[in-house]
């Protein structure tokens, strides 16, 4: 069964110039992410997984290589087109939530629904992550887990084709972490959203369809998981 590819990357590399030294963050990665897949990127710090995620999400550009989202050549897009690409297709979730402190939970979600083409209702998104009752709370009034769930609601609310998550549970304890992962799995299962998760936590790999192992800027190995488990069953 040949699923349509959401992302298709060939020979992606990224070199950062910091002062006089060059850092090869990514050294020619080939990548295929089928639509609707739940993919986990594993690897030590500095192995290039965040760099790849940022390039895939249109936050950064590869130094060389080709990258397509469906039929769109991402490398050829200018800044404004990349912004439009993110606005239309990508939901981001970060380790440190990145909520706007001056906006309530609901308004943080509205930040995205205000500009998306076919968003769900902000309250519906909060309901999805179980935070309907906390809609009028400011981030400072929410726990870390709750804040991350608001971030998930914000990412999901625009009904994006892809969810990109960089260490989404890195700052959370196991119980709240599992809740966040459950929501991600739900979006993948119910809405068909492609989900890419970066993690240090090997346990999380058990919920993925596929796992890419990173080492020194390269994809060292690919594991296919025939029977992904429910996030609740993950051992931390």
């Amino acid at each position: 069964m040949a699923k349509e590819l959401a992302f298709h990357g060939i020979g992606l590399s990224k070199i950062y110039q910091t002062g006089e030294t060059q850092v090869h963050a990514l050294r020619g990665a080939d990548l295929e992410i089928p639509s609707g897949e739940l993919l986990v990127l594993l690897g030590p710090s500095g192995s290039g997984k965040s760099t790849l995620l940022n390039i895939v999400g249109g936050l950064d550009r590869p130094t060389s290589g080709e990258l397509y989202y469906h039929d769109t050549d991402l490398v050829a897009l200018d800044d404004r087109q990349l912004t439009r690409f993110r606005r239309a297709n990508i939901g981001f979730i970060f380790q440190f939530y990145n909520l706007i402190p001056s906006l309530t939970a609901k308004e943080n979600v509205q930040l995205v629904t205000d500009i998306a083409q076919d968003p769900m209702d902000a309250m519906a998104a909060l309901n999805l992550v179980g935070l309907k009752d906390r809609a009028d709370h400011y981030p400072a009034q929410l726990s870390g887990g709750e804040q991350q769930r608001v971030a998930v609601a914000r990412a999901v609310a625009k009904q994006p084709g892809v969810l990109l998550c960089d260490e989404p549970t890195g700052a959370l304890d196991s119980k709240t972490g599992a809740r966040v992962l459950e929501t991600l799995a739900l979006a993948n299962r119910e809405l068909g959203t492609t989900v890419v998760i970066i993690t240090h936590n090997v346990g999380i790999a058990a919920m993925a369809h596929r796992v890419l192992n990173f080492l020194d800027g390269r994809i060292a190995s690919v594991e296919i998981n025939e029977s992904p488990i429910d996030p609740a069953e993950i051992s931390w």
């Binding site: 936050l59 950064d60 993110r86 981001f92 001056s102 400011y138 400072a140």
Partner: protein, 787 residues
Amino acid sequence: MRALDLKLLRDLWRLRGQALAIALVLAAATSTFVLSMGVSRSLAETRDAYYSRNNFADVFVEMTRAPRSVVDRIAAIEGVGQVEGRIQQYASLDMPGRIIPVRALINSVDEHGYNRLNLITLREGRLPRAGAPQEVVVDEAFAQANALGIGDDVAALIYGSRQPLRIVGIGLAPDFIYSLAPGDLVPDNTRLGIFWMGEEALEAATDRKEAINSLSLTLQRGASEAEVIRKVDNIVAPYGGAGAYGRADHVSHAFVANEMAQLDAMTQVIPPVFLIVATFLVYIVLGRLIRTERTQIGLLKAFGYSDWAIAAHYLKFSLVVAGLATLGGALAGIWMGRAMTELYLEFFRFPFLEYRVSGSVFLGAALLSFGAAALGAMGGMRTAVRLNPAVAMSPPPPPVYRAGMLERFGTWGGFSATGHMIARHIARWPIRSAITVLGVSLSIALLFATLQFLDSSRTMLDSYFLRAQRQDMTVTFVEPRNEDVLFELEQIPGVLRAEAVRAVPVKLSFTNHTERTAIESTAEDGMLSARIDADGNELGLPPAGLMLSRRLADKLGLSAGDTVHVELLGGRQTELDMTVAGVVDEFVGERAYATQGVVERLTRDASPVGAALLRVDPAERASILTQLKDMPGVLGVTERDASMERFEELIDDNINTMLFFYIAFASAISVGVVYNSARILFSERAHELATLRVLGYFRSEVGIVLLGELALLVVVAVPVGCILGYWLAQFMTAMFASDLFRLPFAPSRATYGVASLVVLGAASLTAIGVAMRVARLDMVRVLKAHD
């Protein structure tokens, strides 16, 4: 260098834009202070040196005619130092190729060099010699304006007879630093010259053998001026004494003093505005710096740095900025001071006027600038001192936002999420938002308050020249004439109408107040002159009694309906009680008005024509002027349009120089305030702005979040600025008022607009400049950091 000082230098370098923006505002304070204080002090020092070197007298009196022996009688008065009598006589000059009338005020000087008072400083040549009646010294400004030099001849009509004059010297004297022809509002060096002529020659030319008509004296130390004046008046009264007066009422001295008072008023108003803004800027910038360096402060304290060492570290930051500002501001102030001094030399005739700034002015400027910076640093220093090291090293508690007033407004208005971000951020930092509003509004206010002087001058021009003076020419006579002269004037082809006016010197007394002034009379059916009050209304003359200008009435403490005691000065010594029938709010001078009939009860001489106002056919102007020049008894002719042009020219000259400075200053404030607000805003919100970019907001949309807040504050500042400007302008107008004139307060709507637009322009450009940084926002890096 100590490590902490190295940090200071690096902080300054990192925040150089903001530090410079603060320095700009502080420099504006320093420069205006150095400018106005420096010019005022330079004027005062120059004037005082000039006065003492050339023995400027303390008391003056004019008479119709007195024997020279009166000098000795006055010298005998207790408290009088030196006394000197002289003849002062207006003459009209026949300048070849010029049809416009040119007048000279000729003063007698001793041919043997025995003068003691109001001495002439000779630029070139020499004083007139005995036995050479045609020799004169001419004042420098007139000589320059008319391209006259030593050896040139000028024909003059003195006391009815034509006399050739030869220029033997060019000079100037302390009693003519500023000279105005009668009826003029601004000095005109091309049309009024001050001449000095040998005493014997002038006696002969004016038929005043051994007689004088003017007297000056100096007072001994500790003598009472009022007492001496009273005694002098008693002695000169039989000779038509027009009332003795001190320096304060001497035209030349009064104009110089008036200018200095205006400069002092500027010193009191303008630098403080800049200082207030600079203090606030230091407050917000250091406040932000200390918030971002919270952890570092905790660390330094943990290492054992004392509270004082840390407070001093931040104080030094503000003092370095103040130091830069003082230096730059002082240099700019000196430069502007030079330019302004040049401007003064156009209408003040000093032998030298050097713009010199004394050490004390610099010291004062430095104290103000360092003081404002230190005051602004206090808030931040207190925070730094109070920080507990253990608490400081942990991250600060997340900012707490709540719905403010704007918020509730926002829910009605259906704000977008980004709209809420803007509204709540303003509510979160109310003081800083208020400072931004205040700063921008002060810059509008300052620009408005200075620009409205243009409106003020235009209103004065309109009311004084266009509406109050309807004549084309004013013909002044050597002595008041009877009404026959009006018929004579009307015979000249092209003269359409002639009306009489006359000003008689009087002393008005009410209760214990006494004022020297003049009553101006016009014909009951006069059409060529009018009294326009401050509101632009035309007031008719009361059929009986006097009409007083507001300032004079206030000085005497009387109002309409009171009875004032009037004493005629010069000529007959009539005294009468007259009713004050009305009070008129006027811009120029302090005078009284009455009809011809009322004034004749006082003068009893049936000579109401001190001067004639003419309405003429413009086509005949040249021939009329030529005929007037040859008419006996005519002292001079003033053309209204020429005076008006001269006045406009003077305004334009001044305005163009000043306009540049004012716009630069007002922009300095708004640039300083907006730049700092924008940079702080940007650094506080960099994380949020990057988040918005990640979520798919375009740069322009993110820029709006940043600019929206500033725009909102700046828009609020516009009405606030206009209100503050209105007050400031009123205050400055009141401070500028003097005995000579007061400026009307008549700001036009356009001035509100121009002031707002200039400031909005400067603010927008600055804010947009900062917003460009959104383009360089590194989304990846900002998001990696935990705020």
